[in-house]
């Protein structure tokens, strides 16, 4: 049982005194995401911290951290007396597949004949590499504010899928990171017990990825239409078509 954070594994018989002096405050953040970003940048000058704005009405902006500094930053956020983000509520995996971005560049080619310059449209297909992302929602139980949202991105979706585990900082990430490992295939380094959580151990795929193809078990689909019909077509029997018709009125 070694290897985990000492805080989490103190003897069960030692109970610190249960005393909390909490004051009710509004659930909004004590500092804005920008302020936190600025403070982190001064504290960790080597770290790359990007503010990811949220365009929706919720307007909860998030901070994209680089993988190497993430554990230190996380520990700082947890212990910082201003923020005290002691509670990691939610850990989510998000799959961003490779995307082909079609750009149209217009170049004006001067007409050799001397007429007005011709505009030639040139399509460029740029492949934006995808990534796997882990999103952490942090709150503070001590100061009763939140959420601060952290994001970590892998380098790609194929081989460089490693991220540092934040389980040593917040034990709450334990099962959730395992779930992300299971369903998205992000490998969390220094996770104390990184096994599949929901699927069986022999399972090879990562089903929550957007490009996952489900096993073919569409043998009986009397109401198939749309996408399901495409998949069930191979199994269409006279019965499945006949049952729809039923007796003629």
């Amino acid at each position: 049982m070694s290897g985990r954070h000492p805080l989490l594994w103190t003897s069960r018989s030692q109970h610190p005194p249960l005393h909390f002096t909490f004051t009710h405050s509004t659930p909004t953040l004590l500092e804005t995401a920008e302020q936190i970003r600025d403070r982190l940048v001064t504290r960790f000058p080597a770290a790359q911290i990007v503010l990811v704005p949220n365009p929706g009405p919720a307007a909860e902006h998030s901070l994209l951290l680089d993988a190497t500094h993430a554990p230190d930053i996380a520990r700082f956020l947890r212990d910082d007396p201003v923020l005290r983000l002691d509670y990691c509520s939610n850990v989510t995996g998000v799959d961003w597949p490779d995307k082909d971005i079609t750009g149209i560049t217009k170049t004006s080619v001067p007409d050799p004949a001397g007429g007005p310059p011709k505009i030639v449209e040139q399509k460029t297909v740029r492949r934006q590499p995808g990534c796997l992302e882990a999103v952490y929602h942090l709150y503070s139980m001590a100061l009763k504010h939140g959420p601060v949202i952290l994001r970590l991105c892998t380098a790609n979706r194929i081989d460089a899928v490693t991220l540092p585990s934040l389980t040593p900082v917040w034990r709450a990430c334990d099962f959730q990171e395992r779930e992300i490992f299971d369903l998205y295939g992000i490998v969390f380094e220094h996770h104390p017990d990184l096994r599949r959580l929901l699927m069986w151990d022999e399972f090879k795929d990562h089903p929550m990825r957007k490009d996952y193809v489900e096993p073919d078990d569409y043998e009986w689909e009397p109401t198939a239409h749309g996408a399901v019909l495409e998949r069930a077509k191979a199994h269409l029997t006279p019965a499945t078509t006949a049952i729809k018709e039923g007796p003629k009125p």
């Binding site: 795929d205 089903p207 078990d217 043998e219 499945t240």
Partner: protein, 222 residues
């Protein structure tokens, strides 16, 4: 007039396992001794159906509700939910069977002594139900074990479960010990255990048991 009398109202669904009085008379003519033995045997079994205490998902709560004061499955002698499959007569598959759970369900079924019956309670147990599009959801427990009664609903009311139980009782009461249409458990060639599927790299292996599950290929509807 608040309630439909199931016997009077023409149900839109065909009822299962009903035995008419005429058929019962026919039974009698087969031989008084055998028939009365058969009736005693079937009476005992149909009035003492002990289900396996085994809940999978949402429907399990309604299964428990069927055992509670309002619905009281005990009236049919079926409140003794045995936690060990060795003493159970009926497996109520109540809820979604996931692919991860399917081998365990089949194993439990194999561990039950004959004669045993299976009720698929709720849409998920019948066909995967609303979750059938899921990658880890088995599209019906009848892919691996034979099911006697299907109770649709999501979840079925406890009364629907009781209705299914009454259907099963009727089915048991109509079972024969000998002859060409003898009950399944009396025929030695019928398997009592079924192969347990294994966890594969992408799916269960095999994904269904073709000896048990075969959707109709062609339809000859009346």
């Amino acid at each position: 007039m608040e309630m439909s009398d199931p016997a009077v109202t023409p149900a839109p669904f065909p009822a299962a396992g009903n035995i008419t009085d005429a058929e019962r008379e026919e039974l009698r003519r087969h031989g008084i001794l055998l028939t009365s033995l058969e009736e005693l045997y079937n009476w005992g079994r149909s009035n003492s159906i002990w289900p396996l205490q085994f809940g999978l998902a949402c429907c399990a709560i309604e299964m428990i509700a069927a055992a509670t004061a309002r619905f009281d499955i005990a009236r049919f002698g079926a409140e003794i939910f045995r936690p060990s499959p060795r003493q159970a007569d009926l497996m109520i598959v109540s809820g979604t069977v996931t692919k991860k759970m399917a081998p365990q369900v089949v194993r439990l079924w194999n561990q039950m002594p004959e004669p045993k019956y299976c009720i698929a309670m709720g849409a998920c147990a019948i066909s995967g139900g609303p979750f059938k599009q899921g990658y880890n959801v088995l599209k019906g427990i009848d892919r691996f074990i034979p099911v006697d009664i299907y109770i649709p609903g999501c979840p079925p009311r406890p009364e629907a479960l009781l209705h299914g139980l009454i259907q099963l009782q009727a089915q048991i009461k109509g079972e024969k010990l000998t002859g060409p249409d003898a009950a399944r458990h009396t025929r030695p060639e019928e398997p009592s255990e079924f192969p347990v599927p294994e966890y594969g790299a992408h799916d269960l292996e095999p994904p269904h048991n073709p000896d048990v599950w075969s959707p109709p290929a062609a339809l000859d509807k009346p």
